[in-house]
Amino acid sequence: MQDKKLIFKKGDYIFAMVVVSVVLVLFLTQLNAKQGNQVRVTVGKQTETYSLTENRRISLRGKMDSQEQASSDGVTNVLVIEDGQVYMESASCPDQVCVKHKPIYQDGEMIICLPHQVYVEVDNDIENDIDN
C-alpha cells in the first residue's frame, strides 16, 4: 500500500492556517457579547426595532418567489419575541433554515431568512451601555 502517502502539500497547510487564525481572531473579538435588549428586524430595506422585554408575535412580509405568491396572503415569516428571546415560529421559505435556528438573545446574534430577505438581529442600545 504505497497509497498511504499523504496528498497534502505545503500550500494546503498554509491556507488552512491562515483561515483558522483569521476566524480565531474575529471570534475572540466577538466573545465579549452580552445580553441584548432590543430586536432589529429588517425586511428588504426597511428596518423596524422592537423591545426584547415585551412578548409579541410579528407577521413579516418578505420577498417571495413567483411560485410562492399565489398560495399565501403575503405573510412569509412569523417572528416571536418571548421571555427575552426571539425565534422564527414559521416561514414559507423552501429551506426552513430560519425556523430551525435556535432562539437568540445575545447582542449580535441573528436569524436570517435568505429566500425572503428577512434579517433579525439582537442588539444592545447605546443608552443602556452608558448606564453600566
Binding site: K10, G11, D12, F15, V19, P94, Q117
Partner: protein, 167 residues
C-alpha cells in the same frame, strides 16, 4: 471542441445534478444559511482538472441554472452563481501553482464560495453585520471542502484509469 469532450461534459453535468438533488434530500442539520456539503463540486473539480478553468466556469453556470430551476428555487440562483464564480476563480488560480494539492484547492474553493454568497447577501440586504456569519461559514467550508477534495481525489484516480483504458 471534440465530441468525446462534449459527451464527458454532459455526463459529468448530469452527475452533478443528481448529486445536487441527493444533497437537497439531506435534512439541514445546522441552521445557518449556506452551510452545505457541496457534493456537486466534486464534478466541478473533475472538470477543472481534466479540462480547464473556462470549462469549469461553463459547467458551474449550467449547473447553477439547472439546479435553480429544478429544485433549489429561483431566488438562490444569484447567490449560487456569485459563490460559484468566486469558487472557480480561486480554484483555477491555486491549481496552476504546484504548491497546492486537490485538497487545498477544494478547501479554498469552498471557503471562497461562501465568501461570494455572503457578499451578495450584504449587497442585497445592505447589512454588513452578516459578515460575522462568514466566520461560521469559513470553518464549515474548510471541513466540507476537505471532504469534497478527498472524494474528488479518490474519484479522479479511478476515473483517469477507466478513461485511459477505454481510449
Amino acid at each position: 471542441m471534440k465530441t468525446s469532450r462534449i459527451a464527458e461534459f454532459g455526463m459529468l453535468l448530469a452527475l452533478a445534478l443528481v448529486l445536487s438533488y441527493l444533497e437537497s434530500l439531506i435534512p439541514v442539520v445546522i441552521a445557518v444559511p449556506g452551510v452545505k456539503l457541496g457534493l456537486a463540486n466534486i464534478m466541478t473539480i473533475l472538470i477543472l482538472y481534466r479540462m480547464n478553468g473556462r470549462f469549469a466556469f461553463f459547467f458551474m453556470t449550467a449547473r447553477v441554472l439547472l439546479t435553480g430551476f429544478l429544485f433549489a428555487g429561483i431566488s438562490t440562483i444569484l447567490y449560487s452563481f456569485v459563490g460559484g464564480l468566486f469558487c472557480i476563480l480561486v480554484m483555477s488560480v491555486l491549481k496552476k501553482s504546484s504548491f497546492f494539492s486537490v485538497l487545498g484547492v477544494s478547501m479554498a474553493g469552498a471557503v471562497f464560495h461562501n465568501v461570494g454568497q455572503i457578499l451578495v447577501a450584504i449587497l442585497i440586504m445592505e447589512n454588513a453585520h452578516i459578515l460575522y456569519y462568514l466566520l461560521v461559514l469559513c470553518v464549515t467550508g474548510m471541513a466540507s471542502g476537505l471532504a469534497i477534495g478527498y472524494l474528488a481525489h479518490l474519484l479522479m484516480k479511478q476515473y483517469n484509469k477507466i478513461y485511459e483504458r477505454n481510449r
